[in-house]
């Protein structure tokens, strides 16, 4: 209990040793998912074209977006101008917005409820996203200060009986999780599923979102994903973060964009690209069979071959992260 209490206090609970229900008590054998991996060496490439190609490979074309309200949920963690490995790059957000608009989405909105800084405008300014939103005429919604609605916890992995969700999620027909590819010193990795912490309103969960930490990070991740049911993930792995993620790590140029409609499958693929066994990440193991497949055998890989793109990310050298290493 002392260890758990400690982790809670610093705004976290480690993925390992948390007493998650048996990671493999749900069989994913019958589940299949497609994941597309694209190479993109830099943010100056034609990201729109790359995204369009990838989405079409996944069977998603204009018909999937026409007339829909699409909510893009980037990962905006910290207000910083100097560290490109922290926040989802504005070029990726802009490219996704343009793709969905050209496919005649009724509206595209960008929404975030960042966990470390209440002032969204400051985070937008510092991350470089503010001018991109203005140029692209993309509306931004601050999910931390949105009206909220109580929704029953669809999975019940944590002790939270209901989740308070921003009403903007109801406005969206399609929710797109757009994380950065990063290590995370408590959760192991932070990708499309963990990015959903940012839909939880700070006015109800605090800064950092300590209620979720007390309820358990892996458990909360699974509950939020099962309740929000996001429709698509686009992971910015062009420059990721290794080492002391999610905010103090170092840049890792992985040169990939990863996308898919099943978030556990997308995250498991990203973990493999990072040289991390997804079964060692508690919330991914917990997602297996409940929210999707994470085994390679159950994920249909599209786009680039995975093996040549795998670049083992450095993991913080601390005993509490030893479980991530093989």
């Amino acid at each position: 209990m002392r260890r758990r209490s400690f982790l809670t206090a610093v705004g976290a609970a480690a993925a390992a040793g948390l007493g998650l229900k048996s990671a493999r008590d749900h069989d994913e054998a019958a589940l299949r998912a497609d994941v597309f991996v694209a190479q993109a060496a830099s943010y100056t490439e034609d990201l729109e074209q790359i995204l369009r190609n990838g989405l079409r490979e996944l069977g998603l074309g204009p018909a999937a977006f026409k007339g829909k309200t699409v909510l893009l949920k980037p990962n905006l963690v910290e207000p910083t101008r100097t560290d490109p490995q922290i926040n989802t790059h504005p070029a990726v957000v802009r490219a996704a917005g343009e793709v969905f608009r050209r496919w005649q989405a009724r509206e595209v909105i960008v929404a975030e409820g960042q966990g470390h800084c209440r002032d969204s405008q400051y985070v937008l300014d510092q991350s470089g996203l503010a001018p991109v939103l203005a140029e692209s005429r993309l509306e931004f919604i601050d999910l931390n200060h949105d009206d909220v609605v109580a929704v029953p916890n669809a999975l019940g992995y944590s002790r939270l009986r209901e989740l308070m969700l921003p009403v903007t999620l109801r406005r969206a027909d399609l929710v797109v999780s757009m994380p950065k590819m990063k290590t995370h010193h408590w959760a192991g990795v932070t990708l499309a599923l963990k990015n959903l912490f940012g839909v939880m309103p700070g006015v109800c969960y605090g800064w950092p979102k300590n209620v979720l930490h007390h309820a358990g990070i892996p458990e909360s991740i699974l509950d939020i994903a099962a309740t929000v049911l996001p429709h698509l993930a686009i992971v910015d792995g062009i420059i990721g973060m290794e080492g002391d993620g999610p905010i103090m790590g170092t840049p890792r140029a992985s040169g990939v964009l990863v996308m898919g409609t099943n978030l556990p499958a997308v995250d498991a693929t990203c973990a493999r690209l990072m040289g991390i066994d997804p079964w060692r990440v508690a919330y991914l193991a917990g997602a297996s069979g409940r929210l999707g497949p994470i085994s390679e055998a159950h994920i249909s890989q599209r786009g680039e071959d995975l093996a040549p793109l795998i670049q083992p990310f450095k993991i913080l050298n601390h005993p509490c992260l030893a479980y991530l290493r093989s």
Binding site: H185, C204, Y205, N210
Partner: protein, 303 residues
């Protein structure tokens, strides 16, 4: 009267809903924090504009807040959200500034004094290298039952200070929390100093708020954390035009009599850049507070 403050007040008044309260956006439900800050922002302009012109709106906001007070003295964050109650200090600050609703203020203050963040007893030998702050100190949490964090602790200190409790033991320990969460290179963030040995980054908003809180006991002490924080803000704010962060930063500088003359231009520029937006309520309110006769700043700014 400075031009921007007049139009900012007019804009702020237009952002009210039919009940006379404010939401974080003008198309969202009214909430305690934006309502209290909007009223404080309008009130802080009293020496620039006739108070009668705004007094009705301010009083209506203060009365609206009182309708949300629960029997235990606390206020939820909105009519539909009776908990969490972290915005209770905001209501106290407004009622105190206006010198209204004294019984409500007393009940809210009594409730606030009872609220405590969860301390964590740890094995320092094992975990001391991982987390930077003293987790046994007790301040105030955002959400009942969770750990103490910087911003709710600072807001509680401010409210209790205004209620004449600057030297209450809870305030003294709250100040210890604030000091303990200071970053060694200057400033504060949401309340984590270092994790796994890495010093985290400061942010102007929490830094300004922490400086305001520390001013509560400034007649007796000038903590070592003050000067590095002032230096951080003076270095950072010239490039900050996000209204909330800028305004809290300027308020923090004012609390220690360290706000430069250029701050007036920063505030004006910030207003120009963000006026007309749907989600500008809190930002406008704080810009006015940072410019005006600020109820957050001690009656005699510390030198």
């Amino acid at each position: 009267m400075n031009d921007w403050t007049g139009s900012a007040q007019t804009e702020l008044l237009r952002l009210r809903d039919r009940t006379g309260a404010w939401g974080y956006r003008n198309d969202r439900s009214p909430s305690v924090e934006p309502t209290a800050l909007a009223c404080l922002g309008l009130w802080s302009c009293r020496s620039h504009s006739p108070p009668e012109a705004r007094r009705g709106a301010i009083q209506r906001g203060a009365d609206w807040l009182q309708t949300l007070q629960k029997s235990d003295g606390s206020l939820g964050i909105a009519p539909a959200l009776p908990s969490p109650c972290w915005a209770t200090p905001h209501a106290i600050l407004l009622w105190n500034a206006l010198e209204v609703h004294a019984p409500a203020r007393r009940r809210a203050t009594a409730w606030l004094l009872e609220q405590k963040g969860s301390p964590i007893a740890i094995d320092a030998a094992y975990f001391g290298s991982v987390v930077g702050h003293n987790m046994t100190l007790v301040g105030w949490p955002w959400i009942e039952g969770t750990h103490s964090w910087l911003e709710p602790t600072a807001m509680a200190i401010l409210a209790l200070d205004r209620e004449g409790l600057a030297y209450h033991p809870r305030v003294t320990e709250g100040i210890r929390v604030v000091l303990n969460r200071a970053l060694s290179l200057g400033g504060w963030n949401y309340g984590n100093t270092s994790v796994f040995g890495r010093q985290l980054r400061p942010q102007p908003g929490p830094t300004g708020l922490a400086l305001l809180a520390l001013a509560a006991q400034a007649s007796k002490l000038r903590p070592r954390s003050v000067d590095p924080a002032i230096a951080y803000l003076l270095r950072t704010l010239p490039d900050v035009r996000a209204p909330i962060s800028l305004a809290w930063g300027v308020l923090g500088l004012r609390a220690w009599n360290a706000s430069p003359a250029a701050a007036a231009d920063w505030l004006s520029e910030s207003y120009s850049l963000h006026s007309g937006r749907r989600d500008v309520t809190t930002g406008l309110s704080l810009l006015l507070l940072a410019h005006g006769d600020d109820p957050f700043v001690a009656r005699e700014p510390r030198s």
